[in-house]
Amino acid sequence: MGILKLVIRRLAFGVVTLFVVSLAVFILSQALPSDPARAVLGREATEENVAAFREKFGLDQSAVRQYTDWLGGLVSGDPGLSYSNGVPIMDFLGDRLKNSLFLMFAGSLISIPLSLAIGAYAALRRDKLFDNANSVSSLILAAMPEFVVGALLTVLLATNVWQIFPATVRVRPGEQPWSDIDGLVLPLLTLTLAVTPYVSRVVRASMIEVLESDYVEMARLKGLSERTVLWRHALPNAIGPTFQVIALNIAYMAGGVIVVEALFNYPGIGLALRDAVREVNLPVVQFLAMFISLIYVVSNLLADVGTILVTPRLRTRLS
């Protein structure tokens, strides 16, 4: 029950955060120098065109009214109409949201266990070959922006050197994002290589700290098998501190997919966001900003709750 209370409290905090973000997003877009109607319609548009545009998108209302309407729409799942084609945003972004979420989810599903395994193994084999090799390679990978990693992978595995995997993903309209499994290999590999070095390094550090801890030494001195020492005594304690980093990386992926999506032509929000920014399509930009914020808030919420669940000291404090 304690945890429920905490979740509710954190949720409330998340809602407040989102509210503040929404305010910031709205104020920033209000502060843009150009009149969105003019920007979208262009200089050929007549006064009537502009007036009609402003009326259609509620730009003739007061700023407060615009904000409350927008916020109300967001809350009720209707983020409004796209400036560029007058279509409800969810109509053409729905599938893209799903696709991006899938990419992030699949990327997390691969990279997080992998990071845990690599980090834990490197910690166990500290200063040995695997650890050193991993340390060097993860440093190199961490130093490379993901578009470089992605481009290298493409050259290596899709276009110039070997042609093993497709260089681009093709998710056809109406199909599920996993329909092009071959095509997903490189984007997921890129995301994995972007995230795993960070997370695995944190896992390694956390694991080393735990392996050096008194209670792990004590577990060995109790005669427990290495397997028990590792799985029962070390890992559960090492995993808590990594949750925050994992959450950060999931949130980072929300931004990282923009690059990866462009590289591999994956039909997600990244491409939509790029188009929207280019076209001053404010409703779409605002909606996607809120969506990415939501991912930040949710992943951090999950990390907090996860940390608490695996940390009895925190968990018991709640009840």
Partner: protein
């Protein structure tokens, strides 16, 4: 079939639990893998079943390393280089990892120093006890093991209700945690147990309970115990025999009585003279210098650089073991040469001029910590030139109170007068003169000095803040460094180049440089080894005497009080339980609480007399 029989059946090679030698260590050498420098060398120890051997030494002497070696364990970067360790006649060091695991926790178990970090925070205590039994195949059924968990909980005097067993370590008090450590250690009925300073950090009453438990369990089950500690008083009360380690070697070994009554090695002599004793009447004596670290140890006797008796012979070769009496070994060319150390008489300043305005006056002070009231209506005075000891167990509110006096804690009401003038709650709101006139020395000398600032800068800082010129400040700094038995050369050093004792001296010098009238010392010796502690106490006594300093000395260490304070204020649960002259309060306590506290405090003289 009882669980007891089942145990015997399961753990085959524990044949000589009654009589004979259970643990035998011969010529043990443990060194650093990378450099080959010895951590311990030439260690010979034997412990019989049912016997408790106290292994005494300062931090860094290698006593924990020896303790861990008994379980065939060496920490990262360290290896057991040579020698033998046998338990029940079977070698420990020759075992395969698998055999070692069978040994550890089963036949030989370990009680760690700090239970708060040695218990897995993520596992319930039942799991942590039960897993030892499971891994060592205790009993024949799960029910046997469950029964043993309940039994061992009883043995360590903890509740064995399901509810209690479901707790996590952090839900237990420090004493309870250490009992869980004991329960895990005794669960499989080991024949050898290594206890590594298991009572460090515990309140005296808790410590007394834990020690009683240890003693009873070892006696009752015929366990050979190696009790590693730096606390002579504990050893005096618990151990049958004592081995004294210095810089990786055992320098003296004998029965507890022999060691305390007629120590032959100069180092042992110094150790006993430096240990404050609750029932003793003598002041503590410190010793300058520090033990050499691995790799910096001299060819000859490693104590020679600090030894009054050292001769060229000592510096050329390490003395061999001699046996001045039955069951008493010592490694010194001049064994017995240091008969008695000159102990200064305890300071017996009488409380002078009661009518004078007290240097520090605490009037009806209530203090809270994040909203919780932890100090209730406390009033007492510190007269000029007087040292008042504020004693109490952890949680008694003594630190909160002292921090309130020092202006470091704001959540208090009432009046604190310095030389008759009321002080603002926070140091920030106090006038400079007042701020300089009351100085605070912190518990931990490792964190209280700015690591990037030279000693000279740190000490000069209060003066510079007060606007004293650089030249004058430097002069004062040098003077003050001399005063705390450091030289002016220390002014250019950084804290990490200093030992703990030296840092605490620097911290004291920093406090004194502004010529305060009141010094608040918050557990200033608790992080220090006994010899260093004695030296710091000596210093404070001298300062009090020479400078007419008034002191509020906060401590949980009752024996120390006798060497230092004229007045004692006993605090419990934030209230003054008893106060008065040291002799009276410690000699004829009026309150049950004080009496119990004194009774729980281990006493060297009482033990060796008894």
């Amino acid at each position: 079939m009882s669980a007891e029989l089942g145990t015997l059946g399961d753990l085959g090679d524990r044949d000589d639990r009654d009589g004979g030698v259970t643990l035998s260590i011969r010529s043990l050498r443990i060194d650093v893998v990378d450099t080959g420098h010895d951590i311990v060398d030439e260690v010979d120890l034997e412990i019989a079943a049912g016997e408790v051997l106290g292994l005494v030494g300062e931090s860094g002497s290698g006593k924990t390393t020896v303790g861990l070696a008994v379980l065939g364990h060496a920490r990262r970067g360290v290896r057991i280089a040579s020698g033998t360790i046998e338990i029940g006649g079977r070698s420990v060091l020759d075992r395969s990892p698998r055999e070692l695991r069978r040994l550890r926790g089963g036949q030989v178990s370990y009680v760690p120093q700090d239970p708060s970090t040695s218990l897995n925070p993520a596992l319930r205590i039942r799991t942590q006890i039960l897993e030892v039994l499971e891994h060592h195949g205790f009993g024949t059924t799960a029910a046997d093991r469950e029964a043993r968990v309940l039994q061992v909980m009883e043995e360590v005097a903890l509740p064995n209700t399901p509810d209690f067993l479901r707790r996590y370590p952090h839900q237990l008090s420090g004493g309870q945690q250490q009992r869980i450590g004991l329960a895990m250690a005794f669960a499989c009925r080991p024949s050898v147990i290594v206890l590594d300073e298991p009572t460090t950090g515990l309140d005296v009453s808790t410590q007394a309970h834990v020690l009683t438990t240890v003693r009873d369990l070892c006696r009752a089950h015929g366990v050979a115990a190696l009790y590693v500690t730096h606390d002579l008083a504990v050893v005096a009360n618990l151990a049958d025999r004592v081995a004294v380690m210095y810089a990786g070697r055992i320098v003296e070994q004998g029965t507890t009585r022999t060691i305390f009554e007629s120590p032959q090695h100069p180092y042992t002599r110094h150790l006993t003279a430096a240990a404050p004793d609750i029932s003793g009447t003598e002041a503590v004596v410190g010793l300058a210098g520090r033990a050499p670290a691995p790799g910096k140890r001299p060819v000859g006797c490693s104590f020679a650089p600090r030894c009054e008796l050292a001769t060229d012979e000592c510096r050329e070769s390490f003395p061999p073991v001699t046996s001045p009496a039955h069951a008493h070994q010592v490694r010194c060319f001049h064994a017995g040469g240091l008969a008695h150390l000159q102990r200064p008489a305890p300071v017996t300043l009488l409380r002078q001029g009661r009518d004078e305005v007290p240097a520090l006056s605490i009037r009806h002070v209530d203090a809270a910590y994040t909203g919780h009231r932890v100090v209730h209506d406390v009033s007492f005075d510190v007269a000029r030139g007087e040292c008042v000891a504020l004693v109490g167990e952890s949680g008694s509110g003594k630190t909160t109170l002292s921090r309130s006096v020092g202006g470091l804690h704001r959540e208090w009401t009432g009046e604190i007068l310095l030389n008759g003038e009321a002080m603002a709650r926070s140091a920030r709101n106090r006038p400079t003169a007042q701020r300089l006139s009351i100085q605070y020395v912190f518990q931990n000398p490792y964190s209280s000095l700015h690591p990037r600032r030279t000693v000279g800068d740190s000490v000069a800082r209060p003066l510079r803040v007060a606007g004293v010129s650089a030249a004058e400040a430097t002069k004062a700094v040098h003077e003050m460094l001399e005063r705390v038995s450091l030289t002016a050369a220390y002014a250019g050093r950084y804290p990490d180049q200093l030992s703990g004792g030296e840092r605490q001296r620097v911290a004291i010098a920093r406090a004194l440089v502004s010529r305060p009238s009141v010094l608040v010392c918050d557990e200033v010796t608790s992080a220090l080894d006994v010899l260093v502690q004695a030296a710091v106490v000596e210093l404070l006594v001298g300062l009090q005497h020479d400078l007419g300093l008034s002191m509020l000395f906060v401590t949980h260490n009752l024996p120390l009080v006798r060497s230092l304070a004229q007045q004692v204020v006993v605090l419990a649960d934030g209230r003054v339980v008893e106060s008065g002259p040291t002799e009276r309060v410690l000699g004829e306590p009026e309150q049950d609480y004080t009496r119990r506290l004194l009774a729980d405090t281990p006493s060297i003289s009482a033990a060796s007399a008894g």
